[in-house]
Subunit: 435 residues, 2 copies
C-alpha cells in the first residue's frame, strides 16, 4: 500500500492485536482471528496497525502487551482465558498492570448455570474464569464459560506522554469470540472511540491477467487519484489478482468510486467481482438473478467446489446437486459415463470430463453443470499425464465445452486453483451470454 | 504451555517471523504463512518466538524488522518482493541495513526466461525483482519471478551485544514460498544453525470430552513428567480438544512417549488420533487398513465432508462416492429418499437422514455411508427446528443409526462442527467393531 503514512487521510488511532497460544508458534493451528478481527475493525474504520502472536507462557505475553501499550490506544488479546493450566492471559495482564483479581459472583453464576443446563458437573478448575481484574468491564459469553474483559488503562504507564489506552481480552474459540465481538466489543468501541474518519475499502477481483500487467494497465489512470489520497494494493492469489482501494475522510466514497470506474474500463471481462467477494458469491448472485441452476461433478477436487458454492447463503436456490465421483464405477453409475470412454481415454480425459458434465446436467435437470477430472497427486501421475493435469468441462443449453489445465501444485493448492478455474469457466459463459 | 521459560530445556535460539501486507491488516486475506512456516521450523527444532504482521508501507516494515533484529538470531519476512508499487520489502530492508542494491544478471535472466516460456512479454516493472542487496544470497524461485533473499547481518547493529543475525526474505504467494523454503531455506538453516536440541512435539486429539474435565483426568499423572521438563498445552476446537506435548533435549522422545501412554489410559475411546492428524486422516488410514469403503450424502454441509476426506492422499481407495443433495428432488432422484418421508417428516428429520444414508450406501455399494441433513442458516429455521438443527445417520452392514445435534453457529463453524460429528460417529463405530 503506497504512501499510507504520508497521506493526510491516515487514521490516527493505533490498534494492536495480540494472539496468544503456543499452538500458533508450533504451527499446530491456523490463526483465523487475525483476519476476522482485522476485517471487523476495518469495517468500522479502525485499521489494526500491528498484529503479534506469542506463546502463552508468562514473559512473552507480558512483554508483548507492554510493547503494544507503548504504541497504542487499543490492544486486543485473544486466547488464554480458559480453564486449563496454560490459560494465563487474565492473570498475567492483571499482574502487569498492577490490578488485583476478585471472583465475580455474576460470572460464577453464569458458569454454574452453563454446566447445569448441560447436565454436567462443574469442574473446580473452571472457577478461575470468574476471576475479574479490579476495574474491568465483563463482556458476557453466551457460548462458553470464560467471559471477555475490557479495561481502561488511565494513565497508560507504558506510553510516552501517558494518556489513556484500552485493553480488551477475548476468548480463543472462534464461536465464543465472534459473537462476543459483535455483542460487546463493537458497542464499546463506538462509545469509547467514536466517529473515526470515513473509511472505504473495496477489493476488486480479476482473473486471467498477471499482477504486473494489471498494474501497468491501471498506473497512469490512477495517478491523479493517488495524489488525492487514494491508496492501492495488489494481491496475487491462486488463479486471480485482487486490486484493493482504500480511502479515508469525506472524499473517500468518491475516490474509490472513480478508481472502480477506471478498473472496469481497463480490465473488462478479467474483472469478475466489484465487491470484496469470492467468485462463488458472484456466481450464486448472478445465477439467482437469472433463475438458473447448477450441478457439479467432481473427481479430483473431491467436493471442494460444492463446499465453496454452498458457503454462500442462498446457494440452495442454485445448486441442485453435487456428485463426488472418485472411482470409475461412480462415474458410470452416478453420471452415466460410458465404460468405452473410460477404457479408450482414461478417467482423466477431455472425453470423460464432457460426459461427466453432460451426465450431471441431465440427471440433476439443471441449466449448467461443471465437471472436473484430474490428478491431484502426490501420486498417480505419468509422463503423458503428469500430476496436476486436469480437464474441466461445462455443459450448457448451448452445448458443452472443455479445457485442459496443468496445476502441478501441492494437493491443497491444486484443489483451490482447479475449483477457481472451473468457476471462471462458468463466469465467462455467463458474461458472454447475458440474460 | 506451562513453564516454558523456566525449564532448562528451552531452545536458546530466537526466531521471529514478520508477515507484511496491508491486505492482512485489513482482514482481506487469511495469513496461512504463519502456520506453515512455524510448523516447518518446529519440525526442525526451531520454535518461532514471535510472529508479527504489519502493513506494507515504509515505516512499519522497517520498525518491525528493527525490533525483531534487536531480539533475534533469525528474522524471516514474507511478502513484498513482487513487481507492483506496494512491494517494498527488499528496498526497505536494504535501506535499514545500509546495503546498496544491484541488478543481478542471473536473476534477470531467470525472469526473462520465465516470461519467454509462457510466451508473454516481460513487463518492465518485473525487472525490479532482479535487484539484490549487496552481500545477499539469492534463493531461486522456480515457481515465480521474485527470488528470495538471505543476508547475514554481522555485526547486528540493533541487538544489545552485537553478534550476528540472519534476515531471510520470502515471496508472498504460498506456491512460491513453500517450495523455496524446502529447497533453499531448510538447507541454509542446517548449515547456519546446526544441531538444535532434540525437539519433539506431539498433538493427541480427543472428541466428546470437555477441556477442563480432560485436564482433571491427566493432571496428577502428568506431574512427574512436567517436573522433568515436559510441556503440555490444551486447545479446544470445534467438537474436539487437542492435547499437545513438547519436550527438548536427549530425554524428549521418552518423556513424550510416557505422556502418550498416560493419555491412552485415561482418555480411552475419546482419543481418536495419536499423531498430529485431523480425524479424516485417521478414518482414511483405518478404512484403508480394513479394506472397507465409504459413501457420503450431504445436504447442509454441501460437500465439506467429501472435501475433508479427499484432502487425505489415498482417499480414492476408500471414498467411492459423495452426493451433495440440497434439494428434495436431488434427495429423491440421487438417493432414493421417498416422497412420503419428505412430506411427513420434512427434509430435516431423522427419517430422511436414515434414508439418505441407506440410499448412498446401496447406490455406491460401500461398507459404510454417512448422511447429513440440517439447517445451516442464517435463514430457514423454525420454532420446532431452529437454525443449527442437524440429523446425522450412519448406515453399516449391521444396520443404520441416527443422532440429533444442535449446532447453532455461524455457517462456517456449523459446517465444520457438523462434519466433525459425522466423522466421530463413524470413528466410534470402527472402534466398537474392530477388524
Amino acid at each position: 500500500m503506497t504512501g499510507e503514512a504520508a497521506t493526510p487521510n491516515q487514521a490516527t488511532m493505533q490498534i494492536e492485536l495480540i494472539n496468544t497460544g503456543s499452538e500458533l508458534m508450533l504451527g499446530r493451528v491456523l490463526n483465523t482471528h487475525q483476519q476476522w478481527l482485522c476485517r471487523k475493525l476495518a469495517d468500522r474504520g479502525h485499521v489494526v496497525s500491528r498484529q503479534i502472536a506469542v506463546p502463552d507462557s508468562g514473559p512473552e505475553i507480558q512483554e508483548a502487551v507492554r510493547d503494544s501499550l507503548s504504541r497504542s490506544d487499543l490492544v486486543i488479546t485473544t486466547g488464554g482465558l480458559g480453564p486449563t493450566s496454560d490459560d494465563l492471559t487474565r492473570t498475567l495482564i492483571a499482574q502487569l498492570l498492577g490490578k488485583s483479581l476478585r471472583e465475580d459472583p455474576a460470572v460464577l453464576q453464569h458458569i454454574q448455570a452453563y454446566f447445569e443446563s448441560r447436565r454436567r458437573p462443574m469442574p473446580e478448575s473452571t472457577r478461575v474464569q470468574a476471576q475479574v481484574p479490579q476495574g474491568a468491564v465483563v463482556l458476557p459469553n453466551p457460548n462458553g464459560t470464560a467471559p471477555g474483559l475490557a479495561m481502561e488503562i488511565r494513565p497508560n504507564p507504558f506510553r510516552p506522554g501517558g494518556g489513556a489506552s484500552w485493553v480488551v481480552m477475548l476468548p480463543g474459540p472462534p464461536r465464543e469470540l465472534r459473537p462476543m465481538f459483535e455483542a460487546s466489543v463493537a458497542p464499546l468501541l463506538e462509545r469509547v472511540f467514536p466517529a473515526p474518519k470515513r473509511f472505504v475499502c473495496r477489493t476488486l477481483r480479476s482473473s486471467g491477467i498477471g499482477e504486473s500487467v494489471l498494474e501497468e494497465r491501471l498506473a497512469a489512470g490512477l495517478q491523479p487519484l493517488l495524489a488525492q489520497g487514494l491508496e492501492v494494493g495488489y494481491c496475487a492469489r491462486p488463479g486471480q489478482v485482487d486490486v484493493r482501494f482504500v480511502a479515508r475522510g469525506d472524499a473517500a466514497e468518491e475516490l474509490v468510486r472513480q478508481a472502480c470506474v477506471l478498473v472496469r474500463q481497463r480490465l473488462g471481462e478479467h474483472l469478475y467481482a466489484e465487491e470484496d467477494e469470492e467468485m462463488e458469491f458472484a456466481l450464486v448472485r448472478e445465477l439467482t438473478r437469472r433463475k438458473e441452476t447448477l450441478a457439479l461433478a467432481e473427481s479430483c477436487t473431491g467436493g471442494l467446489l460444492a463446499h465453496r458454492v454452498t458457503n454462500v447463503p442462498g446457494a440452495s436456490a442454485v445448486l441442485m446437486a453435487g456428485f463426488v465421483t472418485y472411482s470409475n464405477a461412480a462415474k458410470q453409475t452416478l453420471l452415466g459415463v460410458r465404460s468405452d470412454t473410460l477404457a479408450h481415454h482414461g478417467a482423466v480425459s477431455e472425453e470423460v470430463a464432457r460426459e461427466m458434465a453432460e451426465g450431471a446436467r441431465e440427471r440433476a435437470g439443471t441449466t449448467y453443470a461443471l465437471a472436473i477430472t484430474g490428478i491431484a497427486g502426490p501420486t498417480g501421475g505419468s509422463a503423458e499425464k503428469p500430476v496436476g493435469t486436469v480437464h474441466l468441462a461445462l455443459s450448457t443449453p448451448r452445448g458443452t465445452s472443455a479445457v485442459l489445465r496443468l496445476n502441478p501444485f501441492d494437493r491443497e493448492t491444486f484443489k483451490m486453483v482447479t475449483t477457481q478455474q472451473a468457476m471462471e469457466m462458468l463466469w465467462r459463459e455467463l458474461s458472454r451470454h447475458g440474460s
